[in-house]
Amino acid sequence: MDWVSAVVQGTLLGGLYALFAAGLSLIFGVMRLVNIAHGDLIVLAAYLGLSTTVMLGVHPFVALLIVMPAMAGIGYCLQRGVLNQTLGDDILPPLLVTFGLSVIIQNALLEGYSADPQKMSAGTLETASISAGGLTVGVLPLLTFAIAVAVIAGLQFMFYRTAMGRAFRAVSDNSDIAQLMGLNKAHVFGVAMAIALAVTAIAGILLGVRTSFDPSVGGARLIFGFEAVIIGGLGNLWGTLAGGVILGVAQTLGAKVDPGWQLLAGHIAFLIVLAVRPNGLFPRVSH
């Protein structure tokens, strides 16, 4: 039963990893941009959530009403003001600029909040659990997984059933020809980044409720997000959820064998998938 429990806990943990990864997957899918600062933006969202809960005295989930639009606004301005200028045939400029952005965010957070670990309180939700068939599952991890599924389903609907999603796919296919259709690619990319960072806001708040955080933890979140995206297949949102679950299950099973193996087991699972299926388990295909 312990092993079954580990798989269930890992699956639920995968929901959080999928949320880390969804924004990365969306951004890469639309504009082929690899955002090295993504993990730090998750941490930035967590700190914005912390400030909101402290200043207004609201529950972290209520703080989302402020943090999501704030992160979306930051995303749009960041894309239009900085990142659009780095996009082109050369993949190096966006990597360098987002790496620089990562350093800037980390140092700004250190300056503003210090290096002390912080955590948001979600009250009784943090300790609530439900038991069924000998398994005990935390309500918060369950809620996190449900939110991840809802977010992925929402992104999937937006991507394949709305005019905005059609614009995303057209610009992703051929941005020059998409311009001929009246689509301003600078604006479309800005909207894509805004949506990605709105998702990042959800991930940041859930991170901050689940565990303590400090300005330096963004790097590990970026790696978990990357691994989930690569395992699932670049640009495939449901694949990203599957990638997050595989990573989460590998980590909890590794921890079950030996607590020191938790992260290593996740990285090994990632490397095995990379070796066997370099394009991921469910790469995006043109339909």
Binding site: A163, D173, D176, I177, Q179, L180, M181, G182, H287
Partner: protein, 236 residues
């Protein structure tokens, strides 16, 4: 120059250090069908890309309804009512046939063209509307590319190499559809390698040679010898 819908004045265009257009002057009047002919590398596609805003012009002016549009982005040019059917179709592979058509309407211009009129013009597209655009034949893809441009309800439509790589029967069906398209009061510029086809549907012709206009005139006024000389730069 005064009543021209679209006019180019001393237009230069470059790809890096390579100059593709040299001082091109052109006038297009409302409702006319203009053929643009020339050998490979003469600058026809560059001209289409320059007008549509895909290529930044190095010098000269592009005016549309008297307004300078030469410095505008392609999406802004499209919003003015100029649509391009690009060489090689260039459909969006991750979009279905119907989505490719709908994306053409994204520019938001009102007019007679919507899904149903396009499906009436090319009925095969309605049958295949849920298919991936890449699964269609070359001719059907060209129909989607034309339909996609029409969905923008443009005033001027630019056809770049309208029949390139298509079977003769498909070329015929596309040319058969042209009167229905220009019959809606549209102005059309047709870039075509098949000179006789282009001249048959157009009122005036421009010939390009090595990036320069080598011949212009009404279709019925230019002789085969004139065209041969302008096309190849030599006497027949």
């Amino acid at each position: 120059m005064g009543d021209a819908l679209l006019s180019l004045n001393a237009l230069d265009a470059h790809y890096g250090d390579f100059q593709a257009l040299f001082g091109v002057d052109m006038e297009v009047h409302a409702g006319e069908v203009l053929a643009i002919i020339g050998a490979n590398g003469a600058g026809k596609t560059t001209l289409m890309r320059s007008i549509s805003g895909l290529l930044k012009n190095a010098a000269g002016q592009v005016a549309y309804r008297g307004q300078q549009i030469g410095a505008l982005r392609a999406d802004q040019v499209a919003a003015h009512g100029i649509a391009l059917v690009p060489e090689g179709r260039q459909l969006f592979p991750s979009l279905s046939v119907e989505e490719n058509l709908l994306i053409g309407a994204q520019v938001g211009r009102k007019g007679p063209w919507s899904l149903e009129p396009v499906y009436q013009l090319f009925p095969v597209l309605k049958e295949r509307r849920h298919q991936a655009s890449t699964t269609l034949s070359g001719g059907q893809q060209q129909m989607v590319a034309i339909g996609r441009a029409l969905m923008a309800n443009p005033e001027v439509i630019l056809f770049d190499e309208i029949s390139l790589g298509l079977a003769p029967v498909i070329i015929k069906s596309i040319y058969d559809a042209l009167p229905d398209i220009v019959g809606e009061g549209m102005t059309a510029l047709i870039v075509e390698q098949d000179i006789s086809k282009a001249l048959a549907v157009s009122g005036r012709v421009y010939c390009l040679q090595e990036g320069r206009v080598s011949l212009t005139g009404r279709t019925q006024d230019v002789s085969r010898e004139d065209i041969t000389r302008a096309y190849f730069g030599m006497d027949a």
